[in-house]
């Protein structure tokens, strides 16, 4: 009885969210996977269990390869770009420049904008018109004599251009993470290194960076999972065109245009799995670390 009194109130407090998450996250995930393993290729039919057939068949669809390639290119450019830029901004801030608070706010502001608003502005900035038809960035490049680009409409490198607005939006957030990380490095460690004859660069290379590894990992996970399920940015910039197709857009088309629920669910499952590949090792790692400490 006494023991119940210690755990019962806590359980009661969290149980609504446990039930809600159980139904709306895990229940729906399970329902999605079940649907992905049926042959319900229109809204009317019942759908028989077909195992992993849809998961295998999807690789015969040319568009799937296109959207996966795009997602990979977008992820690599976006994650690396945001990490490097965020790190660089934090590095500059950490030097204790004047008006640091203002700069920090300015760099963080894009986070407050939704991806849709970002996308609509960047659609104009990255307009592919050239010469006298140029607007946005191409106009600027024209004036200062830089080559004009096709941006996101480029068949080969379009997705790299698509990552630019995402980098613009998220690098301030990465900066905040790194800045907190930098500040968490005890000044004594740096001074010890300097006393030992380390250059300023060497201090960063051998003392600060290794201590930032957990922050870098967190940033990587957060950016990686945003990137793999990116949808709103792409739709706002380019709509549902093949030239910028990604799995999430393909899923939307499969469900609402092609009216093929099983195919949509299969694509959704692959998106969840690809994010899980990122997140689960991270969770395991952090749980282990907590136990150790």
């Amino acid at each position: 009885m006494r023991r119940a009194r210690s755990w019962l109130p806590g359980l009661l407090l969290v149980s609504p969210s446990i039930v809600a998450i159980g139904v709306f996250v895990y229940g729906m995930l399970g329902w999605n996977f079940r649907l992905a393993m049926t042959d319900q290729h229109d809204e009317v039919s019942e759908g028989e269990f077909v195992g992993l057939k849809n998961f295998v068949d999807l690789w015969d669809v040319p568009r799937w390869h296109v959207s996966v390639d795009h997602a990979v290119m977008f992820t690599v450019v976006f994650v690396l770009g945001a990490l490097l830029l965020g790190w660089f901004l934090a590095f500059l801030m950490e030097k204790g420049i004047r008006g640091e608070g203002t700069f920090r706010a300015v760099y963080l502001f894009p986070m407050a904008v939704s991806f849709v608003a970002t996308g609509i502005v960047w659609r104009w900035l990255m307009n592919s018109g050239t010469g006298e038809r140029a607007v946005g960035l191409n106009r600027l490049f024209d004036v200062i004599g830089l080559p004009q680009w096709q941006w996101f409409r480029d068949p080969d490198w379009g997705m790299a251009a698509m990552a630019i607005p995402a980098i613009w939006q998220m690098s301030g957030y990465v900066m905040a993470l790194f800045l907190a990380g930098f500040r968490g490095v005890p000044e004594e460690l740096r001074e010890a290194a300097r006393v030992d004859g380390c250059t300023e660069w060497g201090v960063y290379r051998h003392v600060v960076l290794p201590l930032l590894r957990p922050v870098t990992l967190s940033a990587l996970i957060i950016l990686g999972h945003i990137s793999l399920k990116v949808f709103d940015l792409i739709v706002a910039v380019s709509g549902k065109q093949i030239v910028t197709d990604v799995p999430a857009v393909f899923m939307w088309v499969a469900v609402f245009d092609a009216h093929d629920p099983a195919k949509g669910a299969t694509i959704a499952s692959y998106i969840v799995l690809s994010v899980a590949v990122f997140v689960i090792p991270y969770l395991v790692w952090s749980v282990r670390k907590e136990r150790r400490s």
């Binding site: 040319p62 568009r63 592919s128 093949i242 197709d245 609402f256 092609a258 009216h259």
Partner: protein
């Protein structure tokens, strides 16, 4: 009270009409609401809808019109919302859909009532062209009432650019068209402007019709049709040739049309909704002079054929206010309703007995052709192919734009036809 509700609902219909519709079940003061679901929120089309609403409320003092319009061109967002409403068995009283095969999914799912009784009661088979009735019938049944007719196969051009390039008249065959494109290219202008990927599918349906001819084109959508034939291969080669003269793709059809209006490009192939954009005064349009700043002709090789599409209204099963919906359909089908709606929307009535004096300039041409031309159904705009089939075609065209592989395109189109023709 109901009047206030209705007014508030209309005011908010631009953005969040969908949510507002959820709370529309209220009936008050003896008046019943009729929830009409459409994607007509833009300039012109929203005015046309208001004009029909006025007639509806005059004729039916017991009903109030509830505008559940969802913004977004060609109804992408509206259709997604509609899908969830239908699956939850809470349909609007009547909803807009492109007449023809686009409705097949709803019919198969048992969402729509057969409207043959209404056609018989109003003798609609006598006032709509026989070919139209034939092309929207599904196994002898008709599920929607067409309000307007748009034309897909229109070649828009800039007469000044053509003159400069030494092109005397609009091309009438594909071969002439390619020769003219070449002449424009030599002058350094964009020969053909295109928009986002769907406008390229729109171009494809025009090249298919222009190459194959009306009968062979219409036969493509019958079960067992042969998309692997050498004729289709020829059409796709033409498509590739024509596409090689296209300028950089624009955001949508409007910027592509604007290139023609501004004299940067010579031609664009787009439906006749482009007329309003060219002609209407600024804000809604470009304020250009017809025949002088822009001109039109049937798309090359399609003279004498009306590649049509139509917005229509349906009667969903389980509509809360079935009688009200039928009253709305009667207005939508009437001469009075169609003549109120169409001049504002920039389209022509589906009825043959329209008041010709209301339709001027381009619309007068269109009305004349509608009564005499052969009919063929649009692909991109839902007449000839169902939604899954169209999604497969758009996918094939999108991949073609990147790869320019005619054989792969033909194979993908053939597979799509085999999987979806019925």
């Amino acid at each position: 009270m109901a009047g206030v509700l209705g007014l508030a609902a209309c005011g908010g219909s631009g953005g969040g009409g969908g949510q507002a519709a959820q709370s529309s079940a209220a009936t008050g003061g003896g008046k019943q609401q009729v929830e009409v679901f459409s994607w007509w929120t833009g300039p012109g089309e929203a005015d046309g809808l208001q004009a029909m609403k006025k007639i509806f409320e005059e004729r039916n003092p017991n009903y109030t019109f509830f505008d559940a319009a969802v913004a977004g061109g060609s109804g992408d967002k509206a259709k997604a919302l509609l899908q969830s409403k239908l699956q939850a068995d809470t349909p609007p009283d009547t909803f807009q859909g492109h007449a023809g095969a686009e409705l097949q999914g709803y019919i198969k799912a048992g969402d729509l009532e057969d409207l043959t009784f209404l056609y018989d009661e109003l003798k609609l088979k006598d006032v709509f062209p026989a070919q139209l009735v034939d092309q929207i019938s599904v196994q002898g049944k008709i599920y929607s009432v067409p309000v307007n007719i748009h034309r897909s196969n229109v070649l828009w051009f800039n007469p000044k650019v053509l003159k400069e390039a030494g092109v005397a008249a609009a091309p009438t065959t594909i071969e002439e068209f390619v020769a003219d494109l070449e002449k424009v290219k030599a002058k350094g202008k964009i020969p053909l402007s295109v928009g986002s990927e769907w406008t390229v599918t729109h171009l494809l349906e025009n090249v298919l019709l222009g190459t194959l001819g009306t009968d062979a084109y219409n036969a493509l959508f019958k079960p067992g049709a042969d998309w692997n034939s050498p004729q289709v291969a020829k059409a796709l080669e033409n498509f590739k040739t024509i596409l090689s003269y296209a300028g950089d793709p624009q955001d949508d059809w409007q910027p592509a049309a604007k290139q023609v209006a501004d004299g940067q490009a010579a031609f664009t192939i787009m439906g006749d909704w482009a007329y309003g954009y060219f002609h209407n005064p600024p804000e809604g349009g470009l304020g250009k002079k017809s025949k002088e700043d822009f001109d039109w002709a049937p798309a090359p090789g399609t003279g004498g054929t009306y590649l049509w599409l139509s917005d229509s209204f349906t009667l969903p099963k389980g509509a809360k206010n079935r009688d009200g919906a039928i009253a709305w359909l009667k207005v939508a089908a009437s001469k009075e309703g169609q003549d109120a709606f169409n001049p504002k929307k920039g389209s022509i009535p589906a009825r043959k007995d329209a008041d010709q004096s209301l339709y001027t300039d381009y619309l007068a041409d269109a009305l004349k052709d509608w009564s005499s031309d052969k009919l063929a159904g649009s692909i991109q705009h839902g007449v000839s192919v169902s939604q899954p089939w169209l999604a497969a075609i758009n996918e094939a065209v999108g991949l073609f734009i990147a790869g320019k592989d005619v054989a792969a395109l033909q194979k993908a189109l053939a597979v799509a036809a085999q999987a979806n023709a019925q």
